[in-house]
Symmetry: C2
């Protein structure tokens, strides 16, 4: 595109939306064009920041009339480079940051309605003020937005109890590439008057329509929390403890995380923190929450049982909120410690929970056989079958080979090559290598139905046939 056309587009966008809605300066654009990991940078003619649904309709019509692509973006915290434009083409980034109103909190009806640009932690803080909560918990929640968690079907540490973001969506409003505003944020817990097409926009990574607001199920804020750290010799024993936690702690179990000893070593080296328990092998971080103090009793019973049966090597229950926070701080430093250890091949995978022990052993053997110098950095949400099975010490070339090795094994176990991060740009080749052809075809047909000109977030999730 020549600079004359670029200038005209920017000027016309500013005329249509107001000058404050359009960013075009190179310095302003930077943070919208590079992804969270800092490894993918794209190009855009401008960043537009709609303040209303009508603005989004205007932007869609503008894009059609000028033959432009649109890249919807929330907090840009995605880990699959799904929210940054490609490094080519005629793209406009549509940032939702000015769509930032919480429009309804209903503490009787147990729902919250918010525009796409509302930050998750902001929303949670507002809910906590009135004794409610939105149980979406992951590292980027201080920046990630409502539109982002819906469009990526975000997961996190509480999925084993509350499900993925999509399972909390009661309704959403979106703008289609035809320029229609569809859907509703009126809070209805039951609505079978029609097809479930809004669910298609969940996890669609902004490739089908632009989500402008959503209504989500909320929960009563827990008054009582119990947290413990346990060490076990292997993943198999972790599964035994998970099964017993399901039996003893039941619906109150809200997190069941795993960290390998070697990954924790890197955390201790980096942060200078100390472990509250002895450990070798694997460490579990378990949390339970309830409105009822009874949760502390059943959690205590569980701990007593697993110790008396000799199932754990060591363990401690947090006796204060500070101790619980310290335990979680170890968990939350894993990504940073991995980064400090050098380049890594990352995998966000899930397999059937019951096959995790076999899977972990099989992948370890395969990686060692491929290159015994590679180091594993494994952690994740074992309670829902999701591991971040990362491999440190790779080169640019071996990354592709290691990705394929891990994903082949995931496929063999019937698992998913993207549990919670999505496909985006990063995993598009792998998705097309491994997903069933008839399902890829179905996705392409759905894409064509919503966005026949492939203007919405091109190069992510689905290819143009």
């Amino acid at each position: 595109m020549d600079s004359g056309e670029t200038d005209t587009i920017r000027k016309d966008l500013a005329t249509a939306l107001g000058a404050g809605a359009v960013l075009a300066d190179r310095n302003d654009l930077g943070r919208y064009l590079t992804d969270w990991k800092g490894t993918t940078t794209g190009r855009a003619i401008a960043v537009v920041r709609p303040a209303t649904v009508e603005d989004v309709v205007t932007i869609v019509r503008f894009a059609r009339s000028r033959d432009l692509s649109l890249v919807p973006q929330g907090g840009n915290t995605g880990l699959a480079a799904g929210a940054v434009p490609l490094n080519e083409g005629r793209s406009i980034v549509v940032s939702t940051e000015r769509l930032n109103r919480i429009t309804d909190i209903d503490r009787v009806g147990m729902s919250v309605s918010a525009e796409a640009g509302v930050v998750i932690d902001t929303l949670r803080d507002a809910l906590k003020q009135v004794g409610r909560d939105l149980p979406i918990s992951f590292g980027g929640s201080g920046t990630a937005t409502v539109g982002g968690v819906v469009s990526t079907n975000a997961g996190g540490a509480n999925v084993l109890r509350y499900g993925m973001t999509g399972q909390m969506v009661l309704g959403l409003q979106a703008v289609t590439m035809q320029g229609s505003v569809v859907g509703t944020t009126i809070p209805l817990h039951k609505n079978n008057a029609g097809m479930n097409w809004p669910a298609l926009l969940v996890g669609a990574e902004g490739t089908l329509a632009i989500v402008t607001s959503a209504t989500l199920r909320i929960q009563t804020l827990a008054a009582h929390t119990a947290t413990a750290m346990l060490s076990v010799p292997d993943v198999s024993m972790a599964m035994t403890l998970l099964e017993l936690a399901r039996d003893w702690i039941g619906e109150c179990l809200s997190a069941f995380e795993i960290m390998s000893g070697e990954a924790l070593d890197r955390v201790l080296d980096l942060t200078g923190r100390s472990m509250p328990i002895d450990r070798s092998g694997w460490v579990l971080l378990i949390q339970a929450e309830s409105v009822s103090g009874g949760v502390t009793d059943v959690f205590g019973d569980y701990m007593e049982h697993i110790f008396s049966e000799g199932l754990v090597m060591d363990g401690a229950m947090a006796s204060s909120q500070q101790q619980a926070q310290d335990m979680w701080a170890l968990r939350e430093s894993l990504a940073e410690a991995e980064k400090a250890a050098g380049p890594s091949a990352k995998h966000d995978i899930s397999v059937p929970i019951s096959s995790l022990p076999r899977f972990v052993a099989a992948v370890r053997d395969a990686i060692t056989a491929y290159d015994p110098n590679l180091k594993l950095h494994v952690f994740g949400h074992v309670g829902d079958g999701n591991l971040h099975y990362n491999v440190i010490g790779v080169t640019k070339e071996s990354t592709v080979a290691v990705n394929r090795l891990v994903h082949d094994m995931v496929t063999e176990f019937g698992g998913s090559i993207s549990a919670e991060h999505g496909i985006g740009q990063y995993r598009l080749d792998e998705a097309y290598r491994l997903l069933p052809p008839e399902e890829l075809k179905l996705q392409e047909r759905i894409k064509s139905l919503f966005d026949p000109d492939y203007r919405l977030n091109p190069g992510k999730l689905v290819r143009r046939p």
Copy 2:
């Protein structure tokens, strides 16, 4: 169709699937052709009963080659005539009753996989044997099937805690009209490797593909249950008690039902049962469950609070399982009592929970203004905003007018004209009268994508443009 062609089709189906798979005798066909309410009867050339997914593929190909329609049917307990064929055309009913295997129960991974024809209560009984449960609770669960609850996105009494059936679906397998087997029942709690198209089949009433099996999230079987019946002067006070229940009982609250005094009068007249509490106005049935005995404490605290604040007219907590069952028996006799009272106009509606008091008053006034002789029979799952707002004393003609009156008001309140029963045949006209045109159009385009010849369950949910 002439009888020669009919005979040929039946014979060829028997050849393709085995004689035991095909029913064609008028006496055998009866129960597949009339809906649960007994008010809609259709016609079919035959009922086929596939025993495998491959059988379903064979049936789909057969239908295409002979220009036939297919009507998928589970337990045929639907309340919108969505599972019986039209009274015209070239239909084959595809009963899932021989697809009846529970293929996996994973008590660590907290999932169950079952073929479409497995009966819900059978599945729940199997789960309870191993300390787990599938919290889908509604009247027809002794006959309704896995494929049915998925295809209708079934609701019921526990939705306020666990969500609709769709929110429990981890995966499903289906046969498309292209003859492909798509999807998976491998249990993955997190899977973002692709579009969320399986969610489209949830609540699609068998119009997009034939669901052959599903994997559903399960829960730990509750060890402790608390049940109470309360009487309140009006729906507004019911909302106050609901809000307090959310505060005090939190996540343990599993049912919050409402019954009008006049509806209960009919139950008492019909069954000779007695009420455990005095009542006038409205009666609530509240239940809480947990793996922890703490649920009894918080429930007791709640009861003490609402009594000491003078918020209820009367109330009783069940002190035994028998007492709890007796309370539920009153609730479950409402439909029968309504039937005994004569013809009624039925509505399965939801509105935002917070607007229920205004809605109930406004509809009552409008019905009285329309015809003061009509009687209301109102009950429902008030905890999730869903009322069965039924009107007794209608004629065939006034039913249409009353339907429109209620649905217009529902639309005015931003509600849904089908909360949990679906559109089927019964509400198709009303759906086309009241849903936004661009959404009807979107549904038709999705229908055409999956089933371009409109062979699957014609005349339900979506019209051929």
